[in-house]
Amino acid sequence: MHLLMQQLLNGIALGSIYALFAVGFSLILAKMGILNVAHGTFATWGALSSYWLVFEHGLSFWLALVLGVVFAGGLGVAADLIAFEPLRKRNAGVFAPIIASIGIWIVLLTLAEAFSGPSATSYPTDSVPTEPIRFAGLLLLPAQVISVIALVAIVTAVHLLLTRSRFGAAVRAVSVDPRSATIVGVNARRTLIAVAFLAAAIAGLAGILAALSDNNVSFGIGEALLLKGFAAVVVGGYGDIRGAALLGVAIGVLEVMSAQYISSGFRDAITFGVLLVVLVVRPQGIFGERQLVRA
């Protein structure tokens, strides 16, 4: 029972990072209609750039975290301006953005590989406290606490932003139809760029937290996040970030539990197996009834 509780906590902490990534990924997928497979590399570059700032320039970890998040967001905007906006202007359909995002993925991943080198490193040990917090016989690392807090804060903020603010209304209008949104006075281009920045910045944060929790900064961070994040978005249901966040946490728990009780080798196969089963049985996702029906 004690082991179960401990692993549940570990799963929730791991899942928080997946969930965070999934929130950004779902913003791009649901609001802009782009399956952006390069999204994982934004996370990688968030981690790599903040690591570089800490090590080469001696910045404090927290300042480097903020700058890394902003840098990742900037990459997202650059990708949108270079690749996705020209395709939107040409009404290029659904496949073209996927293929363009594969191109961006290859470029950013190759550069990340060259930048980070083959060996993995980690943030300095004094970045955040490492002394575990003991609570009723359970151990919790500060990095895990930070991940959970970050998830709750970001999901709440993004959800309120999308549902309660003028900006959120603009995003929803643009995601239904950019042309009509423009007619009623929304600057569609600026709105889409803001969404691209927000989504990539959240990915960058997820990448930094993943690197912090794993004690490992490498170019492969984003690849793992991308697939877990995608699974969370699909299983959670298209279009609602709360569903994506909840399922992200659930995938983390599933992963830790299957590694503990079934087989650590088949851990990823179990996650993707669940993804495929849900796709077959319920293609609209668990919270799929929330999906907007577009005219």
Partner: protein, 307 residues
Amino acid sequence: MSTTAWMITLQFAGVNALFALAIYASLWTGVLSLAPVFFGAVSAFTFGYVAGTLGLSPFLGLLLGAALGAVLGALTAGLLVRLDSHYLAMATIAMVLIGRVLILNLPEYTGGATGTLVPGDLGTWAWLIGTLVVAGYVMARLAGSRFGLAADAVREDPAVAETLAISPRRIQFVGMIISGALGGVAGILQSSFLQYIGPDTFYTHLGFVTLAAVVLGGAFHWLGPIIGAIVFTILPELLREPMGEYDRVVTGVLLVLIIIYMPRGLVDVRRLRLVRSRWWRPKGGGSEPDGPDPRDPRPAVPAEVAS
């Protein structure tokens, strides 16, 4: 590059062309799928296992690949073909990823992380060219057949196709079976060329390179994937010397540029026809078609509205 290196590169270009044709076969019916990489992996590892113990004849090996791939294609289509395009694309990527996990965790059949050896009987020019000619002939015949016309219609607009009494699901089902058979054969040839296969032989990288090849070559004619695969396999080899480890950056940049500026790829029958009509009537007697070309892949309404 030395002559031997050129020969090896060209042989891989041929195998990639088969993979690209497999991706093209499903894309033809409007389904973006990377599943051929998974089909190829299953066929290759089965071939490695069977050929190692039974000493299978090469011809039977190819038949095995085609049959296994076709069955897997049919199963995949049966389960996934009703999904939205985004979800289907990612579901097939998930299949490729699951494939790697299975290979790593079934060491008694696949050799696990160390991989397995495969006999090189099929890794010769004769088998490669023979297979490509057969595949090209089948695709060319299909292009003019009832299936080909129906596939074109489904790809342009499934709803319109349905009003023409074409069942999009059935056409896509057939497309996935062809895609599976080609993917299976490509996987067996690939393994026979390499004579060694491991968990990373059939992984996402292969899928992306071949998808890039289809887009570059042109996804609207069966010659496109073949030409695209040849260009896309040779180009990185040529760039390796001046670019070093950054040769893949060029691949990525090209992919973005092509999809923006040449969305129909190098082999574009429509553009060829336009050029030819200009040449034949240089003074121009109204040969330019006015209004949108019905074969134009771009929908008349923005995708956001149409979906």
